[in-house]
C-alpha cells in the first residue's frame, strides 16, 4: 500500500467520523426539548419520593403520646403552600390572580399562626407536668 492510498483512506475515515458526529448532533438536538421537559420533572419526582421516605422514617419515631402535636405541626408546615400564594399575590400580571393569591395568603396565615401556636400550647402541657 502506497502512502497516497493510505492518506486517502485516512481522509475518508475522518470524513465518515465527521458525518457521524453531525448525525449525533442532529439527534441530540431533536431529543433536547423532550429531555428538557422530562429532566426537571424527574428531578422533582426523585426529591418527592426521597422526602416521602424521610417522612416515613422520621414519623415512625414519633411517640404515640405526641400524635396530636404531630398533627398540629404537620398541619402548620403544610401551610408552606403560602409560598405559592405569595408568588401569585406579589408577582402575577392579572388582578384576578393577585386576588386569588391574597385569599390564599390569608387562609394559609391563619393556619401557620394557629397551627404552630396551638402546638406550642399542647407541648407546654407535656412539659409542665414533668415537674409534677
Amino acid at each position: 500500500m502506497n502512502p497516497t492510498d493510505l492518506a486517502n483512506q485516512a481522509t475518508a475515515t475522518a470524513n465518515r467520523a465527521l458525518e457521524l458526529a453531525e448525525a449525533a448532533r442532529r439527534a441530540a438536538e431533536a431529543v433536547a426539548p423532550v429531555a428538557q421537559a422530562a429532566e426537571p420533572f424527574l428531578y422533582l419526582l426523585t426529591i418527592f419520593l426521597m422526602a416521602c421516605f424521610v417522612g416515613y422514617y422520621v414519623v415512625w419515631n414519633v411517640t404515640p403520646a405526641l400524635h396530636s402535636p404531630l398533627m398540629g405541626v404537620t398541619n402548620a408546615i403544610s401551610s408552606v403552600i403560602v409560598v405559592g400564594a405569595i408568588l401569585a399575590a406579589g408577582t402575577a400580571d392579572s388582578t384576578l390572580a393577585r386576588i386569588f393569591g391574597f385569599i390564599a395568603v390569608t387562609l394559609a396565615a391563619v393556619n401557620i399562626f394557629g397551627g404552630f401556636l396551638v402546638t406550642r400550647r399542647m407541648l407546654a402541657m407535656f412539659q409542665s407536668k414533668k415537674k409534677g
Partner: protein, 467 residues
Amino acid sequence: MATISTLAYLVAAVLFILALRGLSHPETSRRGNLYGMIGMAIAIVATLFHHGMDLGGIVLILVGLALGGSVGAVVAKRIQMTALPQLVAAFHSLVGMAAVFVAAGAFYSPESFGIGTHGHIHTQSLIEMSLGIAIGAVTFSGSVIAFAKLDGRMSGAPIIFKGQHLLNAALGALLLVLVIAFVATGSPVLFWLIALLSFALGFLLIIPIGGADMPVVVSMLNSYSGWAAAGIGFTVGNLLLIVTGALVGASGAILSYIMCKGMNRSIINVLLGGFGAEAGGAAAGGATAERAPVKAGSPEDAAFIMKNAQKIIVVPGYGMAVAQAQQVLREMGDLLKKEGAEVEYAIHPVAGRMPGHMNVLLAEANVPYEDVKELEEINPEFAEADVAYVIGANDVTNPAAKTDKSSPIYGMPILDVERAKTVFFVKRGMSSGYAGVDNELFFRPNTMMLFGDAKKVTQEIVQALQK
C-alpha cells in the same frame, strides 16, 4: 438571587424535617416546634425577595399575613383542648382551600410561575395543576364535614343512602374525564368544574363515616393536605412545597394506618363507612334480655374500694373529653397516690376523636406522662391491678373483640380491663358503644356500674376520698 432563595428553601425543608424529628420525645418536642416556625419564617422571607415582586404586592401579602395571622393566633389561644379535633379539621380545610386558590392564581397568571403563557400552559403543568385542585378541593370539603361532625353541628351518625358508592364511583370517573378535557383545552370553565366536582366528592366521601372513626378521617385529611401542597409544588416547580407536602402526606398516612390497626379494620372498610349503623338495633335488643342484672354502685362504694387498692388503672375515653372530666380525674389520682396506691392511665390507640387526643387532655390536667401507658405496655398489668376505672370508654374494653367472631369489633385490640379484680364503669346509661355492640363486661360479677356524668361521678368520689 435564585440560588439564594433555593438555598433558603433547602434550609427550611431541613428545619421541617428536624421539627418532626423533635416530636420523638416530649423533652425535645418544643424545640421541634420552634424549628418549624423558623423554617416557615425563612420560607416566607425568601419568597418575598423573589424576582418580579413589586411594592403593591408586598403590601398585599403583609396585609394577608397580618389578617390571617391574628385570626389564627386568637383561635389558637382561646380553643379548649377538648375541641382540638374539630380545630385541626378546620385548619386542614384552610390548607385545601388555599391550594385551590394558589392553583387558580397559577392558572390565571402562568408567566409569573414559569409554566407557560396565558392560554398556553404546558401540558405537564396542566396535569399537575388539576391534581392540585382536585386534592385541595376534596381536602377542603371533606374537612368541613369532619369539622361539622366533630363540633356537633352535624350528627356524628353515618349518612348512608342507596347507590352511594356507585354515585361516588361515577363522579370519580366524571372527574377523570374533566381532567383529560382540561389538559387538552386549558379552558377556565373546566378548571372551575374540576374544583366544584371535587368539592362535591369530598363532601360525599366523608358523610358516610361515623363519629368514632374520626381519628382515621382526621389523619387521612391531614395526609391529603400534604399531597395537595405537593401537587401545587409540582405545578409551580417549587422544591420546598414538594418536600414539605411529601413529609406531611407520609405522616398523615402513617397515622391513618396506626388508627386503622387500632381498630383492626382496613382503610377501605373505614372509608366505605356506615360502621355500626345497621348492627346497632338488633344486637342491643336481642342479647341483653337473658343476662344477669348489672350491679350498680355509688361513688362512695367506689371510693371505699379504691382507698384499699394497691394498683389502679384508669381507662379514659371520649366520654371523659365530653364531660371535661380530666382535671377532677387527676385530683382523684393524686388522692389515691397519697393513700399509697399506684395509679396509671391506659390509652387505647383510637381513644378520643383524633390520634393522641387523650394524651393531650391528660397532659392538660398535669398528669405526669410517665404514668400514661400505651396499650401493649399496660395490658399485662391489668392482671395485677386491683381496680380498673373506665371513664367514658366502652368498645375498646369489650372482650367480645377477642372471643365473639360474629361481633363487628372482632379482632380489634382491646384493653384487658376484665382481668382487674374490680372494674368500675362510669357511664350515663346502659346504651351500647359506638359499634352498636353490647359490652358483656357490664354483666360480670366483678364489674360495678357508676351511672352518671363522668365529671360528676368522679367529683363525688374525690369528695368521698377526702373524708
